[in-house]
């Protein structure tokens, strides 16, 4: 579908979050690290929606609370203390983190505030043990240039990262979260909604990401950066999409969201002529008897657990549930997402996709009859506990009603393929109130000056210096400065003593090529790149083998450069081994050598290198070859 985004009036705003590479967390002295082992500490909590003065309660939060949803938190001693457990008040704001945000803010021409006030933003899905996220604005009203366009930066804030969800138990009545990530400092950069195309959204995100990386003080790798998008089109709705982890996905997420909204508008137009929202009732019927002998595995399993099957009719919806909104995503999927969220079920079935999944045509007929549906109607059914099925079907009906009126404003989560799924209703007005446990921090002119003096070198100056000091050519210097590894380049050269051009070519061209081939390049931490180049510097790894080692590391988490060398058989050949290889080649090509004399050298060199590439440096090979040819 070719879409003219300017014509349809697309507006996108970005919120970029990135973890900061501080020594400790934002409000305590725990290590900002994640753990994989079994938890050492486990505890169970409930979060209670607090009433505001206006008596408002977040509907999703209240619903979960009423259902008695509890949260099981997991922790270990290395990454969490009583602060993350909400058993001790927060310590004062981590000033290292404040300085990092200040640095990024100055690079985006934003105005630092005079006094920082930490706020509590109510979040009661369990991702924060306190029931709120602590956040503070550090600077306002910035502006960056992307291409020729000025993009206003509304604010640069500092906030604590949330706990990460690791699963649920007991039909969704207990949600499990790990609190290692809770409290890791995040910078949040928010743009004004002045982005008008998917491509532009990606470019702006890239530009902001580059600024953050250029501070040299943010974490790198998957999961350390998350983009949230606010997408709206006229007559559609403002939809907030959370947690796009990959930059390259942004344009696709925006494209899909526009498609989704346009398709929903089209469906709404058709439905409006056919169905009144009030025709959709919540008359839920028990249809367990229809499936007594079913071959459908999902339903069989549910019935073994003595669960039931319930169904509801959607008047006039026949055919609509299979309308595609995004790739592999139909209106029925929207209903299913809602049912999962509100009803804690695994998914739903509907008649637009039947017969399938082992459900027979006869069962579908019986089902329709039980639900009192004619051929114009769709029937949605689900197998689970009585309580969950009722909640799930009510949510599905509610979503169907919304389909008649248009696009619902909601918060969605990004999937890895660029599609999105329902996450929760959009929260009401920002529910923020002061964090009274933390005194305000001053941002003095002295502090601003100190940070200003430590700002990274402007790109143009740095490019000139790399040419001057490291002997890079113009193109390579520019590529290095523009690359994600801008700040790492000099460290690598200085630590490893590998020629600067070799390092620069690897960081720019080689990695770009590997990434193009689909390698998860960003999963290799900087530390491993440092180790790799140190090994090249000491001759432990041949520079020709760098790409091979890197490739192996990108798919073997937690392994070392030495592991890669051993695993790939890249250990440098000893003098004796190399001599043997050279002699073998000489022996095999005796006739040619006799014929060509000195002119045979080039060919022999090629043959030896083919055999020992990555295990011996070329200059060593050529020296030895010359010697043995004498």
């Amino acid at each position: 579908m070719q879409i003219d985004y300017a014509k349809i009036g697309l507006k996108v705003g970005l919120e970029i979050h990135q973890q900061l590479a501080t020594a400790a967390k934002l409000f305590c002295n725990c290590k900002p690290d994640l753990f994989k082992e079994n938890p050492e500490i486990v505890f169970l909590r409930r979060l209670r929606p607090t009433q505001s003065e206006l008596g408002q309660i977040d509907p999703a939060a209240y619903f979960e609370f009423q259902k008695g949803v509890r949260i099981r938190y997991e922790a270990n001693r290395e990454t969490s203390c009583l602060v993350e457990m909400d058993e001790e008040p927060p310590h004062p704001l981590n000033m290292e983190a404040v300085e990092t945000v200040l640095m990024a803010a100055l690079m985006m021409n934003a105005e630092p505030v005079d006094e920082v006030h930490v706020m509590r933003k109510t979040v009661i899905d369990g991702s924060n043990t306190t029931g709120f996220q602590r956040t503070c604005v550090i600077a306002l009203n910035g502006c960056i240039k992307v291409g020729d366009k000025a993009i206003p930066i509304q604010h640069a804030s500092l906030e604590e990262d949330a706990a990460r969800k690791t699963g649920d138990e007991d039909n969704g009545k207990i949600i499990r979260y790990r609190i290692d990530r809770l409290g890791i400092p995040l910078i949040e950069v928010a743009t004004a909604p002045v982005i008008y195309s998917p491509q532009e959204a990606q470019e702006v995100a890239f530009a902001i990401g580059k600024i953050l990386r250029d501070t040299g003080r943010v974490m790198r790798g998957l999961g350390t950066i998350r983009q949230d998008l606010n997408v709206s089109i006229p007559n559609g709705a403002l939809v907030e999409i959370k947690g796009v982890q990959e930059l390259a996905l942004i344009s696709r997420v925006v494209e899909y969201e526009v498609q989704r909204q346009l398709n929903l508008l089209r469906i709404s137009n058709e439905l409006k002529n056919k169905v009144e929202p009030s025709c959709l009732t919540e008359e839920i019927v028990d249809v367990t008897h229809v499936f007594k002998q079913t071959k459908c595995k999902v339903i069989q399993k549910a019935l073994e657990k003595r669960h039931c099957v319930k169904a509801v009719k959607l008047t006039g919806f026949a055919g609509f549930l299979k309308c595609e909104l995004m790739p592999n995503f139909r209106l029925g999927t929207e209903l299913a997402d809602r049912a999962r969220f509100w009803g804690r079920v695994g998914g739903i079935f509907h008649t637009d996709e039947m017969p399938a999944y082992g459900v027979t045509a006869e069962e579908v007929e019986a089902l329709k009859k039980a639900a009192n549906a004619n051929e114009d109607d769709a029937v949605v059914f689900v197998a689970d506990t009585a309580e969950n099925t009722i909640d799930a079907l009510k949510a599905a009906v509610e979503r169907a009603r919304e389909a008649i009126s248009g696009v619902p404003a909601e918060t969605r989560a990004a999937n890895a393929d660029g599609t999105t799924r329902y996450m929760r209703p959009r929260p009401g007005a920002a529910r923020m109130y002061p964090e009274t446990d933390i005194p305000p921090s001053l941002i003095t002119p002295d502090l601003i000056e100190k940070v200003r003096l430590s700002l990274p070198e402007p790109a143009e100056k740095k490019r000139e210096r790399l040419i001057r000091e490291y002997g890079l050519n113009d193109k390579l210097a520019k590529q290095t400065v523009d690359s994600e590894y801008n700040t790492l380049f000099e460290t690598l050269v200085q630590e490893s003593r590998v020629p600067a051009t070799v390092v620069a070519v690897f960081l720019t061209e080689t990695l770009k090529a590997l990434k193009r081939d689909g390698l998860p390049v960003e999963q290799v931490p900087e530390k491993q790149l440092q180790d790799l180049f140190k090994a090249i510097g000491t001759g432990e790894v041949a520079k020709e083998a760098a790409a091979e080692v890197f490739t192996w590391l990108s798919t073997h988490e937690c392994k070392s450069v030495q592991d890669a060398v051993a695993e790939l058989g890249l250990k440098m050949l000893s003098d004796a081994e190399l001599t043997m290889a050279v002699d073998r080649v000489i022996a095999a090509n005796k006739q040619t050598i006799d014929k060509l004399g000195k002119n045979a050298f080039g060919m022999l060199m090629g043959l030896v290198m083919r055999e020992v590439r990555g295990k011996a440096a070329p200059d060593r090979v050529s020296g030895l070859l010359k010697e043995r040819l004498k």
Binding site: L44, R45, L54, T130, C136, L140
Partner: protein, 454 residues
């Protein structure tokens, strides 16, 4: 939580500028400095904040402080809307439920946040409480009374008397239980005091508080309150207890006897621990389980004996290496009638203090001793020092830890002006403070175990 929501907290320079511009908290104002300009709602300032910043809430919801210089211009852009809150209608009182009165002495067991200004308001009327903790209406018919509004560190022995009298009055009116909301810092002292003052109780008296303020979603206040009201309405015992979290999880509420309970952690939810005793019961998932058979039974026919007088002429002297013995003489000179020594180990105080202790006792001061070890029993027969102190007339407080021993001394001297009678009361087991046997209970609280209990 402070009750200062109406005072702005501004002073000095900032207050002058705001006054001049006619701005009040809640108004929309514009602050313009040489470089920048902000618009937002004027927010109260913390009393400890400096005098050169004003705090505003931006449209995005964030608060920031703006530095005030002689060049700063402040204008009032709009008048603040007064927050309106209609209390929810009182739910129907279910006649078959027990009657429980909730008395508050301070702290906010229930509160609401004004998101506009950040002020936290306490919710203490019955309808407010039902609104914030709706579960209560299924547990009891609740009446509320605001008795005091004090941080618990400001509660004195006079307030203990007042609380005891108010409790007695409610009991006389036939309630099935009394819940007292109290700041946690000195809650254990009040619990001990009420244990001595309210004798032969017909119904339970439950003290309850919160370690996380009630304005936050993770507050322990509601869970504790629900557990306390359940115990007050239905538990089979009739004693003074503290009801708070048993572990760091929001599961069990543990009931600790008023004379044997101590605040043992500065911040954890499970801060209250029974010392030299096991808790007497537990409320978990609406279920009340008694953990001992040794408790005073609920019996509406019992006649309450009220003995609410406490003497404040009592001092606690903690022994430490290098203690100046004259501290003891100073207390005596100031009119002290009782001194509780917090001795070391099995019950010792350096021989350098013997002179002033002897002096005090000769002047009719009652001197008792409890151990600063907190756990375990005093035994002053093992070493010379202990025997010497006993010989001089120091009264060993057995397995009573210092805070309860102090409260008991205050109570004993409140009952009588006769030192000998006070000593007799001191040695009598009045409210389960002495246990005849010292059992191998856990010392303190092993964080790991408690944290893993769920």
């Amino acid at each position: 939580m402070s009750a200062k929501a109406d005072s702005s907290g501004y002073k000095g320079e900032a207050l002058n500028v705001l006054k001049k511009a006619g701005c009040a908290v809640g108004d929309v104002i514009r602050v313009t400095t040489r470089e920048k300009s902000y618009e937002g709602i004027l927010i109260p300032r913390s009393e400890t904040g400096d005098t050169t910043h004003v705090v505003i809430k931006l449209k995005s919801g964030y608060n920031i402080g703006v530095h005030i210089t002689p060049d700063t211009k402040i204008e009032k852009v709009g008048k603040g809307a007064k927050p309106t809150f209609a209390s929810p209608a009182l739910p129907e009182q279910k006649p078959d439920l027990p009657r429980v009165v909730i008395m508050s002495t301070g702290g906010t067991i229930a509160s609401r946040v004004d998101y506009r200004t950040g002020a936290v308001r306490s919710a203490l009327s019955a309808s407010d409480l039902y609104g914030v903790v709706p579960e209560l209406s299924d547990i009891a018919r609740v009446d509320t009374q605001i008795l005091l509004s004090l941080y618990s560190e400001n509660i004195t022995p006079q307030h203990w008397s007042q609380i005891a009298q108010a409790t007695a009055q409610h009991i006389a009116e036939g309630v099935n239980g009394v819940v007292i909301a109290h700041g946690t810092d000195t809650m254990a002292y009040t619990a001990a005091a009420l244990s001595f003052a309210l004798q032969n109780l017909p119904v339970p008296v439950i003290l309850v508080g919160a370690q996380r303020s009630s304005d936050r979603p993770s507050s322990d206040a509601a869970t504790n309150l629900i557990g306390a009201v359940q115990a007050a309405g239905r538990a089979p015992f009739a004693e003074v207890v503290i009801a708070m979290h048993e572990t760091v999880s929001d599961t069990a509420i543990v009931l600790n006897r008023g004379t044997k309970v101590r605040k043992c952690h500065t911040s954890r939810r499970d801060t209250f621990k029974s010392v030299n005793a096991t808790p007497i019961g537990r409320v978990n998932n609406q279920e009340i389980t008694m953990l001992t058979s040794d408790y005073a039974k609920r019996d509406p026919a019992k006649k309450l004996v009220l003995k609410p007088a406490f003497s404040d002429k009592v001092a606690l002297v903690k022994f430490h290496p290098g203690l100046n013995p004259e501290v003891i003489s100073w207390h005596v000179e100031k009119g002290c009638r009782g001194i509780l020594l917090e001795g070391s180990g099995l019950g010792h105080v350096s021989k350098y203090c013997f002179g002033t202790i002897e002096d005090a006792i000769e002047k009719g001061v009652v001197v008792a001793l409890a151990s600063q070890c907190i756990w375990g029993r005093v035994n002053m027969h093992v070493y010379d020092t202990g025997r010497d102190l006993l010989a001089r007339g120091v009264i060993p407080m057995e397995d009573v830890f210092p805070e309860t021993a102090l409260v008991k001394l205050m109570w004993a001297l409140g009952q009588t002006s006769d030192a000998e009678e006070a000593k007799r009361l001191l040695k009598t087991n009045v409210a389960g403070e002495f246990s005849p046997r010292t059992l191998p209970e856990t010392i303190g609280n092993e964080g790991g175990d408690a944290a893993n209990a769920n």
